[in-house]
Symmetry: C3
């Protein structure tokens, strides 16, 4: 039972939340999951951070996340480095050994045809991983060449190949690519992506309250949000539930 | 005994500090209070965050805060939602059940006459809670209608009704309302409020060093500061004590 | 063995990293060192924060840092206050009692001739401390009077007097002094300092990714970086190792 459940009614909190773990301690993860685990859907061990941490520590954290019912995967950059070094199969095996149940497949830094990307997605699905496919480029000058319909087209192919979610690349800050455009343009492009891919499949990287608020008001509290720092997981859930000034009164109560 | 107490003299650190807890783990709170508890006066469980956390976890944290001699209360937004749902009495009872010893009463989102607000304050005092009354609006367009003398007038009524402290609303960022005005205007309005209400009663929401420094230089190290993130509690205390460059040499040593 | 060591090759991570501890709990430090200790060279207990914390707690943290093979020292501001109060000898003794193995000597707030500064450095070396000497002023108006060749001249005297590292003052934010100048000027001044003092000896205060990235691209992954918040220690190490988009492909692999 939640605190204040008797005196304050709220709607059900929904929508996927991907937390960013860029080197948390196992002790913190253990405590955190008891407080906020139910408001997290998946955990990304940001970019290549896992590569620098002892195998035993990573495996222990992964186990805690999996036991809590979450997807857990390293950042797509790590997979891209393995691919660039010609070792995607070795990477899949090491994911397995460490206990990961999911993978992010992206082409933010390395060039990759959509056919190649779909092959990798299929290969990862075959091996039992839940696939998070990211679309977009880390470098803004390469990103700007992609049109919303290019992004939608590629995302839908990723979904057909087996991806569970498709993520719009915006970096740790959530301020690159379409997420970094000025507001009118941003809303136009994101709306086109949501329309083309479906609100259930698409995820936006949005670590900050203002970004999350804009997405929730535009697309509803069930919009999928990624790159959420641990200390913002509960705050984001309050935005979804109408428990913060921004969305108070804007989110309908259950069954009313 | 403190570290470096023998070789470095400092003045007594004074002034109330309200820490913002937006979902901390009980394990963190336990460790934190041993390091920094004496520099905290009260803890606000930000806006509606407590509503999403297990009753047992909230009660356990509240107990630790109360045992450390601190006031602890949920954000005023949670009370406002209970009031909007017609359940202020139920809210008071649930505060009691969970062990809270204080309450924040605000009208940042819902319209409320000052008479109604004072009634609620009296009611909460009757039930034994220490009352933190917040003045100001969450939405800047509603806030800007209030003059400094309106704010002072309402604050003084809150104090007469039993409020221990009155807080100038500025949101988590400390950048809304008069705290968000350009500097000359900000200083003018805050000075009027301090003059009208008294430095002991009024609190400013100021999470950032620059904001805290400005308040300390203008109103002295004993100014009351709210919305302080846990990791800024010790840094704020160093500003008050002249242990940081900004205030070094500006804060008089005890008895000298 | 590190996670993903079998499938992803990276170069050796090098360069000194000074972490900023502004009031961490001993419990956090214990967990943190197991995850990231090997990517830290030294820990600074920021400015005067240690003065407000119980002696036993500070001593316990210092012991953990020393046991992990790290240098640990309070911020130079604390030493400056002791000096201004005429008690440098008492300060050295208290450092000893608390278990510190290093000291920061700066003149950011108090005026000090370079001869006096070198005397203090020699005195601290004599007593067995590793010396981190900081150059530059806390107040921008005093800082701007120093030319790059003044800074280099003073730094080299500090090194001759026994300082292990010389730090370019930039405050907690890393945005004051030459680090806060516009880009062309910043690069010009920093390059002159590196050229004059040597890349092994000089340290830059750079808490943010963009600052760290600029330094790594300009001076190589082995550049010494200070004022790194705990949660940015692993991210900084990924930048050095080419495990993050910014530096992926820019950092050469070992022996290739």
């Amino acid at each position: 039972m939640k605190a204040f459940e008797k005196s304050v009614k709220i709607p059900k909190v929904d929508g996927a939340t991907v937390m960013l773990d860029k080197g948390l301690t196992p002790e913190f993860v253990e405590s955190f999951l008891k407080v906020a685990g139910e408001y997290v859907t998946a955990v990304k061990l940001g970019w290549g951070t896992a590569r620098l941490i002892d195998k035993e520590i990573v495996a222990r954290k992964v186990e805690m996340y999996v036991d809590a019912g979450l997807d857990v995967f390293p950042g797509g950059t790590l997979a891209e480095i393995a691919i660039a070094q010609g070792n995607f199969e070795g990477y899949l095996n090491e994911l397995d050994e460490l206990g990961f149940n999911a993978i992010e497949i992206s082409d933010g830094m390395i060039p990759m045809s959509i056919e190649k990307k779909c092959e990798l997605i299929e290969r990862a699905c075959e091996q039992g991983f839940t696939v998070y496919a990211e679309e977009g480029k880390k470098r803004d000058e390469e990103y700007s060449v992609l049109s919303p319909s290019d992004i939608v087209g590629r995302m839908n192919k990723c979904v057909e190949a087996g991806a569970e979610y498709v993520i719009v690349e915006a970096r740790e800050s959530g301020k690159h690519g379409p997420m970094g455009a000025e507001k009118r343009e941003r809303v136009r492009v994101l709306s086109e992506i949501v329309k083309g891919v479906g609100i259930q499949r698409v995820m936006f990287e949005a670590p900050e309250k203002e970004q999350q608020f804009e997405l929730i008001v535009k697309f509803g509290p069930e919009v999928n949000i990624a790159n959420v720092p641990p200390e913002e997981v509960i705050p984001l859930a309050t935005l979804r539930a109408g428990l913060r000034a921004e969305t108070m009164g804007r989110v309908a109560l259950d069954g009313e």
